[in-house]
């Protein structure tokens, strides 16, 4: 395991922010850290970053306790992010890169390449306050990844991004994973979780209530519902009483049928029933969306 937390605890006074948190992040994957507001995601990220210290438990990287050296190889884009408003873009990016341990020359060389990639070379000498929010986000992203960290942590990266920048960010995250980086993504955006994440952990009320690979979780939440697409037939379809038709829609000569099957039935049973009555175009299992799973898991735990 690349990064592992064991029995992490954190209290703010009498308030328990994190309680026995155990998560494991595999190398080269994108790990989604989910949970409602105030669940403790940002606190956990700060502990991994060593901005704050846990009250109990340990955080391991490559099986060892996280050291200052490891932290230098983390790229962190916080949820509440900003830049010095009065400073010039280039100068500021160089400063932040040097704080991460790059030399001035190295920082400038890499920054120029990144600025060219994003087509923002002309911003170099402009003060940050002249940039729009979306422009500032691009600069922040570059600064986060510039020192080629092994671990990237994005806290709510899509909040405040316009669709163009959000897509760009998504593509960049996937590209970084391809290049071998490990990514921790804290987000509310469930669509992006399905699209990007390999594994997730759902934190609610300071505890991990759900964790594992996205596909497995979705499968385990499956309620045996299928969508059958068929050619329209003149007769009305006859289904057994135990088959529950969730919805049925028609468009042109295509009929879409969503059917919830009883526990002991399989897709084969549905096919067998339909086979004699109409012409099947396709049949898909309908896995619940991460959004549904999130809402259900959080409801079960109860909000604070």
């Amino acid at each position: 395991m690349f990064l592992e937390t064991r029995h992490i605890e954190k209290n703010f006074g009498t308030f328990r922010a994190l309680d026995d948190i155990n998560i494991g992040v595999r190398e080269g994957t994108i790990f989604g850290l989910l949970g409602p507001n105030g669940a403790g995601k940002t606190t956990l990220i700060r502990l991994i970053n060593r901005i704050a210290r846990p009250d109990g438990g340990e955080i391991l990287m490559d099986g060892r306790a996280v050291s200052d050296d490891d932290v230098r190889r983390i790229g962190y884009l916080p949820e509440e992010r900003g830049l010095y408003k009065k400073m010039r873009v280039g100068e500021q990016a160089v400063y932040l890169a040097r704080l991460k341990g790059l030399s001035r020359r190295e920082a400038e060389g890499r920054l120029i390449r990144w600025f060219e990639r994003f087509g923002i070379e002309s911003w170099w000498k402009r003060p940050v306050e002249e940039l729009s929010k979306g422009m500032q986000q691009k600069v922040q992203f570059i600064v986060t990844v510039l020192h080629q960290p092994r671990l990237l942590i994005f806290d709510e990266p899509f909040s405040g991004f316009d669709p163009v920048n959000a897509t760009m960010l998504k593509d960049e995250i996937l590209r970084l994973r391809k290049a071998g980086a490990t990514v921790i993504l804290s987000t509310h955006n469930m669509a992006s979780v399905e699209e990007l994440c390999d594994d997730i952990a759902l934190i609610n009320n300071a505890k991990v209530v759900l964790s594992g690979s996205v596909n497995e979780i979705r499968r385990s939440f499956s309620n045996n519902t299928f969508e059958a697409v068929t050619r329209k037939s003149d007769q009305k379809l006859q289904l057994p009483d135990s088959f529950d038709v969730v919805s049925s829609t028609c468009e042109d000569d295509i009929e879409r049928l969503q059917v919830s099957l009883p526990k002991n039935a399989t897709a084969n049973d549905l096919i067998a029933t339909l086979l004699n009555q109409c012409q099947i175009v396709s049949l898909n299992e309908m896995l619940p969306s991460m959004n549904d799973i999130f809402v259900e898991a959080v409801k079960k735990g109860g909000a604070r």
Binding site: R46, N49, I51, A52, V71, R72, I74, Y76, P78, E80, R81, G82, L83, Y84, K85, K86, M87, Y95, L96, R98, L99, K100, G101, S103, Q140, V143
Partner: protein, 448 residues
């Protein structure tokens, strides 16, 4: 490269490049130069001419010849820019003033049958108040003429009068051991300037630290930075960076003020001579008729060498290093605390509340200054110059008067010891508050 050094570099570079830094750097020496130059300029500038009509019913202060109604009389002596003319009657004077705009005022002395000597005179003006200088001069000359009349009436000669009024006994304050004079006024002035300067420096640069911290917090860049730099390094980098800005500015002030003063003196050296020549001429002109006036002037001039002597008596070799010591360490004591106050605030308005505990001791020292000047070695002065939070300002006020070595050493040691303590405390507050928002709102709710 050391990260604290990087932070220091950024703090210094961004501040020194600001236009406001250079504006302040240039404005302060200009202010000092102006304080020095404006009195000289005013002294040299020819004042506008004023004419005063004297209508005296008593005849005591000279009267107009009936044949020549606007004859200048020697009894009210005209000066460079005030011309006295006699008018036969008040009504005539009034008509003259209507006709001539240069006539600024009428001095009317009414005769009352009951009085041998008039006790009441009035200076009338029309719509425009006559210059202060005119009113002073009229009053001075009235008293002079009256006195001369009285001296004559009582047969007292000018010499006798001069002897009585000019014989003075001079009271000095001297140190019993060294036998040196104390020059209290000079030392009070110097102490006041030095302590206010320290107060100003601590406040100005301390609040710059505070605003810098709030800026990082409110722009939310701080979370990115504390990932690469420890909060303590960030705080100390800011405190030291701003200290260097302060020192740079201070040295520039000293240098530029020096240049400005030398420049003014060089460009005005000729005018200086002319001014003193004029002074001599008027002095000569009034010598015969006005011995006392001359004596008054001599009195004022006599003060000047004593001021120079007083300045020369000050031990600058002690004051300058001590000033730099309290300048730097007084700032360091407060700067980290101001940083902690900034960390607890979300906005500039919050800082005003949070920094109150810091401004109170500074302001209190300032308010105690009159009492301390009255008694530079009194109980209050001693206590305030030893407590680290008040000692930088209080000690600077006392230093010119001479403070025992033991007290200075104790005060310096206490200040030096408190700095790491305050830094430790501030670092703790800073670290725990820098990433937390709405601390003040929470605190207020709790205490409701």
């Amino acid at each position: 490269m050391n990260k604290t050094l990087l932070v220091i570099q950024r703090e210094y570079a961004t501040r020194v490049r600001k236009p406001s830094f250079w504006l302040l750097t240039i404005l302060v020496p200009i202010l000092f130069a102006a304080l020095y130059a404006i009195p000289i300029y005013l002294a040299l500038k020819p004042a506008e001419k004023s004419i005063v009509l004297v209508a005296d019913e008593s005849g005591l202060f000279g009267s107009a010849d009936r044949n020549d109604t606007l004859r200048t009389d020697s009894r009210f002596a005209s000066t460079n820019n005030i011309e006295y003319r006699y008018a036969a009657t008040f009504e005539y004077a009034q008509r003259s003033m209507e006709a001539d705009d240069d006539i600024k005022a009428i001095l009317y002395v009414r005769r009352r049958a009951s009085e041998a000597i008039p006790t009441d005179a009035c200076l009338y003006y029309k719509s425009e108040l006559p210059p202060q200088q005119v009113r002073y001069d009229v009053d001075r000359q009235l008293q002079r003429i009256l006195r001369n009349r009285l001296l004559q009436a009582h047969n007292i000669s000018d010499d006798e009068y001069a002897l009585i009024t000019n014989t003075r006994i001079n009271l000095r304050t001297e140190d019993l051991e060294t036998g040196r004079e104390a020059f209290l006024e000079v030392k009070t002035g110097l102490g006041l300037v030095l302590s206010i300067l320290i107060y100003f420096v601590i406040f100005m640069f301390g609040s710059q630290v505070m605003r810098g911290v709030v800026e990082e917090k409110s722009s939310r860049i701080v979370e990115v930075i504390v990932c690469s730099v420890r909060p303590f390094q960030l705080m100390m980098g800011k405190v030291i960076g701003i200290a260097l800005v302060g020192l740079t500015q201070f040295l520039l002030w000293v240098a530029l003020t020096g240049v400005a003063l030398v420049g003014i003196q060089a460009s005005n050296s000729e005018l200086f001579h002319i001014a003193s020549d004029k002074h001599n001429i008027t002095e000569l002109a009034t010598k015969g008729s006005d011995a006392t006036l001359q004596m008054q002037q001599n009195d004022q001039l006599a003060d000047l060498p004593s001021v120079i002597e007083g300045i020369a008596s000050i031990d600058f070799n002690t004051i300058v290093p001590l000033f730099l010591f309290y300048f730097i360490f007084g700032y360091l004591l407060y700067a980290t605390l101001f940083a902690a106050a900034g960390a607890m605030s979300d906005t500039d308005t919050d800082t005003q509340i949070v920094s109150l505990p810091l401004t109170v001791p500074l302001l209190a020292t300032l308010l105690c200054m009159p009492a301390m000047m009255n008694s530079p070695s009194g109980m209050l002065s001693q206590v305030l110059s030893i407590i680290p939070f008040t000692s930088p300002v209080a000690m600077m006020l006392r230093i010119p008067f001479g403070v025992s070595t033991a007290q200075v050493v104790i005060s310096m040691l206490l200040l030096l010891v408190s700095i790491p303590l305050c830094t430790w405390l501030s670092a703790r507050i800073y670290r725990s508050s820098i990433l937390r928002y709405n601390l003040l709102t929470h605190w207020r709710k709790k205490n409701k």
